[in-house]
């Protein structure tokens, strides 16, 4: 068995205590939520924290709540299983419930948290390996080395954003609430990412993600999530597609959005989706043509790299298929799109 390197674990009861601990320890400290991503990464010596600050005992970070104006406020420490099973989330943010229901497998969803999934480190077949393995090929630029094995001669890390929940939250226009030594701040999740596989998010030092807020969705909101993976459980996405369709009383599309993930360092919004689908009536031939046109837009705009395991050409071929299927699923009010 791979050994888990030694570390100190602290479990504060309050957020301010947690921030203080992080600040005192500086870069040697990391936050641990469910640990389902961090612990394997520590065994692979990808992260070597001396101090882990657990958020498990901070009660205010848990739970799904509907705010008076209709927004959903989800504590970052709410388990993925709980978000997936939440009637509020299923009703007002179906794409998010579906995405949570397809993260890893049942045991991991019971431990893993929504905040942890939003903050999931990027993944790459040349990175998520043991120390021995990485050492055998001279490491890579994301950790301990300087080269990229995905794009030979490449200057930028292209490890893939692999969090299923991020694209769903982007279609929902979610805001992230963060708490740090300088106080609290709120950011649109769209603005949280950077195109760098080494660190693909703007998370400040000693900052903690506390809540994920999904603004009120209109009555005609539909959403779905589609996930391509080899097995029916456990695996990270080879491709993730979140869609949103807001329709008016006559079932005409008022707003549409498609965000695709597991391609590059950050989730990618497919451009011109709203313009293509707006005004079409669900179920009409024009709507179906517009869906196919969106699928084609996605195909043209997405070029997966061989960063994660599997055949990159096949992943690209599946982009339009999953975009199409997920849009149709949302239009029907069902989903997720998943092979089992």
């Amino acid at each position: 068995m791979l050994r888990l390197p030694k570390f100190e674990l602290r479990s504060p009861r309050t957020l301010s205590e947690a921030i203080q601990l992080l600040e005192e320890a500086g870069p040697a400290a990391m936050v641990i939520a469910g640990g389902t991503d961090l612990v394997p990464n520590m065994k692979h010596e990808l992260a070597t924290p001396e101090l882990l600050v657990s958020l498990a005992h901070i009660e205010e970070l848990r739970g799904v709540r509907r705010e008076p104006e209709g927004a959903l406020a989800i504590g970052a420490m709410t388990s993925l299983a709980e978000v997936a099973a939440s009637e509020l989330v299923q009703r007002f943010a179906p794409a998010l419930a579906q995405a949570c229901s397809l993260v890893a497998g049942p045991q991991l969803r019971a431990m893993g948290t929504l905040g942890g999934n939003v903050l999931l480190d990027t993944r790459c077949q040349w990175f998520n390996q043991s120390y021995f393995w990485r050492q055998a090929l001279g490491f890579c630029m994301k950790k301990d080395g300087s080269v990229c094995h995905v794009v030979q001669g490449g200057k930028n890390c292209v490890a893939a954003a692999s969090n299923d929940t991020a694209p769903a939250l982007m279609t929902l226009g979610a805001r992230l609430e963060l708490e740090g030594p300088e106080g609290s701040r709120t950011t649109a999740i769209d603005d949280f990412w950077v195109a760098d596989g080494i660190v693909n998010k703007k998370l400040g030092a000693s900052e903690i993600l506390t809540r994920i807020v999904v603004p009120p969705t209109p009555r005609g909101h539909r959403g779905a999530y589609g996930k391509l993976r080899d097995r029916g459980s456990i695996d990270f996405p080879l491709l993730g597609v979140a869609v949103r369709l807001d329709v008016d009383e006559t079932e005409r599309v008022a707003h549409a959005d498609v965000v695709v993930t597991a391609l590059a360092a950050q989730p990618k919004r497919v451009a011109k989706v709203g313009d293509t689908l707006r005004g079409q009536t669900l179920g009409s031939p024009e709507f179906e043509s517009a869906v196919l046109a969106v699928a084609e837009l996605a195909r043209k705009q997405c070029r997966p790299l061989p960063n994660i395991p599997g055949d990159a050409d096949y992943r690209r071929e599946m982009v339009p298929v999953y975009v199409k299927r997920t849009l149709f699923a949302a239009a029907r009010g069902d989903g997720p799109v998943h092979h089992v």
């Binding site: 791979l2 390197p5 393995w133 080899d230 097995r231 050409d313 071929e317 092979h339």
Partner: protein, 797 residues
């Protein structure tokens, strides 16, 4: 000495007619009884090698090569030795004697002596007070390598051998070549009405047993070295340790505890066993090593990748005239069982169909990859895949039903194959009937709509062979029984229970023979100090050979027990029946005795009670070099029908259900047999669709973890229907044959054939990934642009 002459397939009291298929005579055999170790494994009480802790025990770790092929110029362990808590570091120089599970091809060192031959090849081992210290010490060992050209492509290794992977080989990088011809193949093919010739490819897969390898060694004050190891071949490990450590074998004891699966992945002597033994000798303290999952992937010994070229001819009515095979086998860096693999790749194909003529030319080459070896269905799963797909291609050309072409070529029972193997019982036709009926083949095949299909395949496999890996005249399986005055029978067997239930099987046999309750039997297994030799759990030999040895031992004791009772009751021995913990008089219901009383009576009469029993195969095999390899005392037969569904837009293949009919001779425990059948089909289908033991361009395993090596989960597993066929073999224990490996074979070609039924595409290159399915669909459309699709599109969404 050979038990096979002493009894038939019937019950011990001889009431059953030989060849009887009725189970009613048996009290234990044929019943779905619980496994002896079921409860302890389910509750977590069962002890595995890593559960053992000894006072003063040290932990050992292995330093491995980061290069696929390099000369080791210098190993400097001084900094590691200086680390507090490190007690010893050993290198190849500590154990320079080479070993290999096949004594003719010893080419492995416990630690690299002069060269490393794959990424992960062991170079040095450290013993320290704890695992973290041992790991830290590994990073302090300096190794200077001279990097050599790495062979990652078997076709390159076949023609180039400068530098060679093994310097002392005469034939460059060729590990083994076998070329055998039976009959005039070229003439037979020339005279055939139809000939199909094609290429097939089997990717590599690995066992992925849930328990990683672990070994613990300890030396006693009087110089006895004990090794507890997760092995399926205690006897061969015993021999290899004696050789490499240069110790007399009687100073070594090898013990196997509960095993968390093996599937052939624990049937070589492994580096860690030598390392812990040597480190225990050096430090004088117990030493344990537990491999990481990653290390298990490097140690591998999994299914060989094979490039297979087949040419088969048939007459107009579908009878085979000849089969010609040329196979390139990618062996990886060491021989392991490779000599046998190379023979098996050709020798095990000659049933259940009659081959009038047959030729194969198999070459195993060394490459700088983790060594391949035996995985469930050793050497024969790959050729079976190719041939059974080719047989479907022949049926298609001849417009014959795929089941019908298989029936027409059935070789029959009590016959001899073209390569000289003796076939006894053969239930293959019943297997075909069973899957045909259960799957609704006649009504459903070809009528399920585009994207859904049924496919069939057949196979045969050995129940052990008469080839012990080292030549000797001694029994292949031995059993010792000890009867206690308490009514307990202790059975000592060298057989390795790897989860397949062989200890339970032995207990069932003894309970049946001596008329005992299962709770009166204790099995002590796989301990070289206590148990008579059995060669190990490989080649599907244990039920057949150990089962027969157990019957042999029991019959001797049974005679004594019955004689003692008959004398006491002053009646004819034939009236005494031992059953369910009692001796009863079958003519006088009022008269009975408990087994405790029986044992005590017999002990008073005959002295201390015990017996040994053994099994050895009869003389078998063709009269030519290698003719005994694959010569089995009995062959099992299998047929599968697989039903698949293909999403034509994503290319994803899903197996909806599979029907597995297997002729196991007699099911000693039908629940365990069905478990083996389902597990085999699960494993085969996983290899077809998901699993891939793959190296990247550096020669590094592309994902040595259970996240990246995709074993199917429960939601990926289809409905599996086990249909047991019992042909009652005249030489098997109560007529039993193997059930652990044979049932894997047809699953892979049956799936390929089902995909053809679903979509008209032939998948000949494993694994059947969605990308390959889409490519085949595109190719098929491009080749037949004029083909009317109206009928086909009906079923599509």
């Amino acid at each position: 000495m050979s038990a096979r002459d002493l009894h038939g397939p019937g019950a011990p009291w001889g009431a059953a007619t030989p060849g009887s298929k009725s189970n009613t005579d048996f009290k234990v055999v044929g019943r779905a009884l619980r496994k002896l170790d079921g409860l302890s494994k389910a509750t977590g009480a069962a002890l595995y090698a890593d559960d053992l802790q000894l006072p003063g025990m040290l932990h050992a770790k292995t330093l491995r090569s980061p290069h696929p092929h390099a000369r080791v110029l210098r190993v400097d362990a001084s900094r590691a030795l200086a680390l507090p808590g490190v007690l010893a570091v050993i290198t190849g120089a500590s154990m320079p004697i080479k070993y290999g599970v096949i004594p003719w091809t010893p080419d492995e060192n416990a630690l690299a002596v002069d060269k490393v031959r794959f990424i992960g090849d062991p170079v040095a081992a450290v013993a320290a007070l704890d695992e973290d210290t041992a790991n830290a010490a590994l990073k302090l060992i300096e190794v200077e390598y001279q990097v050599l050209h790495a062979y990652l492509d078997p076709f390159e290794a076949l023609v180039r051998h400068d530098p060679p992977i093994h310097e002392d080989r005469k034939e460059g990088n060729i590990s083994k070549n076998v070329r055998l011809e039976f009959g005039a193949v070229d003439e037979a093919l020339a005279g055939a009405d139809v000939v199909v010739e094609d290429d097939y490819e089997f990717h590599g897969t690995t066992h992925a047993a849930i328990e990683p390898h672990c070994a613990l060694a300890s030396c006693s004050a009087d110089g006895v070295l004990t090794l507890w190891s997760s092995t399926q071949i205690t006897h061969y490990v015993h021999r290899a340790l004696a050789k490499v450590l240069e110790l007399p074998p009687h100073k070594i004891r090898v013990v196997q505890l509960n095993l968390g699966g093996a599937f052939g992945g624990k049937s070589d002597p492994f580096s860690l066993e030598f390392c812990v033994a040597k480190l225990a000798l050096v430090t004088g303290r117990p030493v344990k090593m537990l491999w990481t999952r990653e290390e298990v992937f490097y140690a591998h010994r999994g299914r060989h990748p094979m490039h297979l070229h087949y040419k088969s001819g048939a007459t107009r009515d579908g009878k085979l005239t000849g089969v010609d095979a040329k196979i390139l086998i990618d062996g990886g860096s060491y021989s392991s069982f490779g000599l046998v693999t190379t023979y098996y790749s050709g020798q095990l194909l000659t049933g259940p169909y009659h081959f009038p003529t047959y030729r194969f030319d198999s070459s195993r080459v060394f490459t700088n990859k983790p060594p391949c070896g035996p995985k469930r269905g050793h050497g024969s799963v790959q050729p079976r895949f190719a041939f059974e797909v080719q047989l479907d291609q022949l049926a298609e050309r001849l417009a014959l039903d795929p089941i019908e072409i298989r029936r027409r070529n059935f070789q029959g029972d009590f016959t001899r194959t073209v390569n000289g193997q003796r076939v006894t019982s053969n239930g293959f036709l019943q297997c075909l009937d069973a899957v045909e009926r259960a799957s609704g083949w006649k009504q459903r095949r070809g009528k399920l709509g585009r994207g859904r299909g049924l496919g069939v395949a057949g196979s045969m496999y050995i129940s052990g062979t008469n080839y012990p890996v080292y030549p000797n005249e001694m029994p292949q399986a031995g059993i010792q029984l000890k009867l206690d005055r308490s009514g307990l029978v202790t059975v000592f067997t060298g057989g390795n229970d790897i989860g397949q239930g062989s200890n339970s099987m032995v207990a069932y046999v003894v309970a049946e023979e001596l008329g005992l309750k299962l709770e009166q039997i204790r099995v002590v297994a796989a301990d070289t100090d206590l148990c008579p030799v059995d060669l190990g759990a490989y080649s599907s030999r244990v039920t057949f050979m150990v089962g027969n040895a157990a019957i042999d031992a029991c019959r001797k004791l049974r005679a004594q027990l019955v004689a003692a009772v008959a004398q006491k009751w002053a009646c004819d021995e034939r009236r005494v029946r031992l059953i369910d913990g009692l001796a009863i008089d079958i003519e006088d219901a009022a008269r009975s005795m408990t087994s405790v009383e029986v044992f005590q009576l017999a002990e008073s009469k005959f002295d201390t009670l015990g017996a040994t029993g053994s099994y050895n195969t009869p003389k078998l095999g063709g009269d030519y070099r290698g003719g005994t390899i694959g010569a089995s005392p009995a062959y099992s037969f299998t047929a599968h029908v697989v039903e698949c569904e293909v999403d034509v837009e994503t290319g994803r293949v899903s197996v909806v259900r599979a029907w597995i009919a297997h002729d196991c001779g007699r099911a000693l425990n039908p629940m365990i047999v069905a478990g083996q059948m389902e597990g085999s089909a699960y494993m085969g289908l996983a290899e077809a669709l998901l699993e891939h033991h793959q190296l990247n361009r550096f020669g590094l395993h592309s994902g040595p973890s259970l996240l990246d090596y995709r074993l199917p989960t429960s939601v990926d597993t289809p409905e599996l229907h086990a249909l047991i066929v019992e042909s009652i073999d005249p030489e098997g224990p109560y007529g039993a044959k193997e059930a652990g490996e044979g049932p894997l074979h047809p699953s892979i070609p049956a799936l390929s054939n089902a995909i053809h039924d679903a979509l008209g595409i032939r998948l000949k290159h494993l694994p059947f990934t969605p990308g390959k399915v889409l490519a085949a669909l595109r190719q098929e459309q491009a080749l037949r642009p004029a083909r009317p699709h109206a009928a086909l599109d009906e079923g599509s969404r």
